[in-house]
Each structure stands twice: as structure tokens, then as C-alpha cells.
Amino acid sequence: MSPVEQIPAAGSEPMAAAPARPSRATLVNAALGLGLLAFGLGAWAMGEVFMVTLATKVAILAIAGAGLNLVLGYGGLVSFGHAAYFGLGGYTAGILAHHALNYTPLFEWPFLFEGTTSMPVIWLTAMVIGALAAAAIGALSLRTTGVYFIMITLAFGQMIFYFAISWPAYGGEDGLPIYVRNGFPGLDTLDPLHFFGLVWAVLMAVLGGIAMLARSRFGLALQAARQNRQRLMAVGIRPGGVLLTAFVISGAITALAGALYADLNRFVSPSMLSWHLSGELLVFLILGGTGRLFAPLAGAGLYIALEHLLGGVSDHWQFFFGLLLLAVVLFARGGVIGFLAGGKRHG
């Protein structure tokens, strides 16, 4: 037995004691968060509006991935259906804006509601809808484990996807445009820089919230549920309620990302609900380092960068991307952040 074990102090990772000086993981996280901000600002300063949009896309996908990370990275639940919440958030934004812009009430009872173009209202609605959907899907899916859980979450995602395709009221297969980006008090959301700054702030707030959750009593139980459900029961905590709660919070976060994505593209389509997107979110986490707080940002950033760079070189960029993913899975289980920061995925 070695008397003194060197525990990697991971300041921004869950559970770590407050480090005397910033740990490597903290530095990597700060570099990622500030790096994205600097990239967006720099692109804007150089007049590269497309790059600002790309940075905004990374931030939004990172929020969606952060939602998945809560259940996958911390709770150990491999959900292959998170596109459902992303798409529901997107359609919430699209439908609310559609009614407001067309002056056709969404419903007249119990009160007249004409839709809205206010982002805060849209976000809240999207999160409530995402949470409700996750509560229903989670309650049924959590009766299973392992591969069955993966399959049942995929099945629910596909159900919602086909529903959106076959429901003509909101564009069906063609999707639903949002003619004017929804508004946020005090900002000009049509200005790419304003919208990027807003999305970046939301991303930081979400990551901060997840860091807080991970360190809480709830977070301790959630991470224990990932490691050993039998043990959790034996100390008097039922894993089911903990995991379902995490699933509901996760659905709300991913739906929020969906609402932002709809506003980024000013368009919602069933592709937001497709299993490809569920898969991409999983890929972000594997690339970034599952269970690391900033994994979704590292993963989404790398993915979008490669899509942009390799996509310009070859139409078959996904083949080369597949090779990279294979390398990460085989040789760098901690993903980008594990590689840069070292140590374990949980402090």
C-alpha cells in the first residue's frame, strides 16, 4: 500500500475539494469557455459573420450535449433519443413564433394565447415541454437497463420524429420557418454578435448549473447510481427517483438548446428530431470525455471544426471522422479533456 495517493485535484470536476490553485482541468475548462468567446468576438471583429454563426452553433450544440451529459456522464444512462427533446424545444420556438407572427391564436381557451416572440417565454415553455416529455419517456425507459434502455429511448425518439413528419399543421416534412428571430429584452438578436453573446452566456449558466448539481446531495446519489445501484439501495436511496429526476432536468436543458437552435437557423424541421442528432450528441461526449463538465463543448467544437475543415476537402469527411472517433475510443477513453487535463473523469 502506498501511503500517500496523489489524487488528481480537479477544481471544476464534481466532488473535488477546493484546490489551492487552479487544477489542470480548471485551466482546460477556462481555456475552452474563454476560447469560444474569443473565437466569436475575433471572428466578428474581422467581419467573418459566418464564423460567428459557427461559434454560436457550437455553443448551442454544447448546451444540448450538456443535457445529455447529465444523464450519460453522471448517471450512466445511455440515452439514444435526446433528439426528441432538442426537436421538441425547436418546435416549441417555431410554433410559438409562427402563431405570433401570423396573428393566429395558438389557443383561445382557457385564455387567448397568440403565441410569442419573446425568448425568455419561449425558453421556459420549451424547458417545461422537454421536462414533461422526459418525465414520460424516462418513467417508461428506466424500467429497463443496458441495451434495452438504449433501444427504447431510440424508439421514443423515432416516434416523435415520425409524428412531426406526418403532422401537416406545422410544415410536416418541410419544416417550419421563423421569419424574424425571436427577441430578448435589451438585445438586438438579429445582430450575430448579440445572439452569440446571449447563447454563450446561456451555455456558461447551464454548465455552472450542472457543476452545482454534480456537487450536491442529488449529484452524489446520481453518480453513485452510475457506479453501483445495489449499493445505493443498501444505503437507503432508491436509484429510480434520482435517475428520473436527472432525466427530466436533462430533457429540459436539451430542449432549451433546441429552442436556441431554431432561432439560430430561423427554421425548424424534423431533422432536429432525427436519430442522427441523438448520435451526434453522444459523439460530442465521447470525443470530449464523457462525464467531464466541459466535454460537450470540447466535443461539439471539435466536431463542427472538423466538419467545416474536412467537409471542404472531401465529401466523405465522415469517414475520416469515423477513424478519429475510433482512435479516441480505443486510445483516449477520457476524450479530449481527459487527454489535456489527465486524471479521472470524476474528481
Partner: protein
């Protein structure tokens, strides 16, 4: 004699044609160590699991301080003070010793759905956890991930977690298995002290420890209790000699 804290009455459980528990009745009194011995496959672990609520018996009941536990699941029973250790160590391997024991203290508190304050800075839980870690003899190892503990230390961690549950009974399934003789002796001394905190139902193969520590011993063979008595009575029991002690000794 003081009322028993734990009563097992007429418990039966079959797996298909196999009677793993066959009309078992036994109890656990304040301050005692009641050992449960028997050959491999006799049904000792299966009995413990029915007491903790991990599996449901076909017939019979379990009472804690006079209260029937029917319909209460394993988590509920743990919260009532049923503290158990597993035959194969079962802890949260990526958590540190401290995190594992804080988790147990949190379970005992019954409050898990708190989302804001950092649990590791909760002095109530942390103080309790440090106490239990010290009692289990793991002081100084708080920050070590459970996966990096030596085998014997992991068993002590399970004891520390059991202590943090504010136990009313301990159900320990082969806590000394795989320990060296020195470790087993130290753990025996610890159990000897813990019995005053809460009585211990002890499944154990180490016969020296069993006969040294136990107030009473029950012998389980093919799911049935063939004898219950003091160590001396069990030593002198002809049937026990034949079916069990004979082949071990």
C-alpha cells in the same frame, strides 16, 4: 431476556425446485453476535437478502423491533437501520472513501433531493463520515478512491458505511473473506466492539472467529436451521459435527 431486535419467522424461499430457505426461524438480541454458518450453497446469503429486502420470501416474515417489514423495499429497510455488507465488496468504486461514507450518511438522513449546496462541505454529514471512518480503522485514507483500496480496506469501508447508516442491526455477509489472519483478527476485535452499537447477524466461514466472537450460532444446511445454540452447544452437537464441522475441521 431482552426482546429481540430482529426476528425471522418461518421464512421460506425456493428457486424452482431448490429450497434455498426452508422454514427458517431465528432472532437477534441486543448486544449479541449471532453467527450463521453452513456449507457453501446452504442459503446463508439468500437468507440475508430476504432480511434486507433484496429478494422477497415465498412465506414467513421479518420483524425489526416488533414491526413487520412486509412491503418495505431494501432502501426503506436500510433507512430503518438495516446495515449490511456484501459477500463480494460492493461500494462506489470511483468515489473516494470519504464520498462513499458521506453517501451512506446522506442515505441515513433521508434527504437526497437537495440540488444546491455542495454535499462534501456539509459538516453534519462530513463529521459523521469521518467518525465512522475512524471507527472502522480507515483514518488517513479518506481521499483514496475505493477502487485503489486493498481488499481488507474495502471491507472496512463497507463497515464504515454500515456505521454511517445509524444501524439498528448489522447484517454482515462474510466480512472476513479473503483477509489475512492478522486482518481477520483486527476485524474481529472491531466487530466485538460494534455489537454494543447494534447486534450483528454474522455469516462467516472463519470458524476461529465465529467461535471466539459469537454469543449464539445457527447452523444452516440445505436452507434449514439444523441447530441453534451457544458456541459450546454447537461444538458438542453431533449432527453439526457430522454435516458441517466434521468436514471443515
Amino acid at each position: 431476556m431482552a426482546d429481540p431486535i430482529l426476528e425471522i419467522r418461518g421464512l421460506s424461499k425456493s428457486f424452482g425446485a431448490l429450497k434455498a430457505t426452508d422454514d427458517v426461524t431465528l432472532d437477534l438480541r441486543p448486544g449479541e453476535i449471532h453467527a450463521l454458518i453452513g456449507p457453501n450453497g446452504a442459503g446463508k446469503s439468500t437468507l440475508i437478502k430476504q432480511v434486507t429486502g433484496e429478494i422477497a420470501p415465498d412465506a414467513g416474515e421479518v420483524r425489526l423491533s416488533g414491526r413487520s417489514l412486509a412491503g418495505i423495499d431494501a432502501a426503506g429497510r436500510a433507512r430503518l437501520g438495516m446495515a449490511r455488507s456484501f459477500q463480494v465488496s460492493s461500494v462506489a468504486a470511483e468515489f473516494t472513501v470519504m464520498q462513499n461514507v458521506v453517501l451512506a450518511a446522506q442515505g441515513a438522513s433521508g434527504v437526497t433531493f437537495r440540488f444546491f449546496r455542495p454535499v462534501m462541505r456539509d459538516e453534519g454529514l462530513a463529521g459523521r463520515a469521518r467518525d465512522c471512518i475512524a471507527q472502522a480503522g480507515l483514518s488517513g485514507r479518506e481521499a483514496v478512491p475505493a477502487a485503489e483500496l486493498a481488499h481488507g480496506e474495502r471491507r472496512k469501508l463497507e463497515i464504515a458505511m454500515a456505521l454511517a447508516l445509524e444501524p439498528r442491526v448489522f447484517l454482515l455477509d462474510e466480512p472476513m473473506a479473503g483477509m489475512g489472519s492478522e486482518g481477520a483478527t483486527a476485524l474481529g476485535d472491531l466487530l466485538d466492539r460494534l455489537r454494543h452499537r447494534a447486534p450483528i447477524l454474522l455469516v462467516e466461514h472463519d470458524m476461529d472467529a465465529v467461535f471466539r466472537l459469537s454469543d449464539r450460532i445457527s447452523v444452516l444446511v440445505y436452507g434449514r436451521v439444523v441447530a441453534t445454540g451457544t458456541p459450546d452447544e454447537i461444538r458438542g452437537n453431533a449432527e453439526v459435527q457430522r454435516v458441517y464441522l466434521g468436514e471443515e475441521a
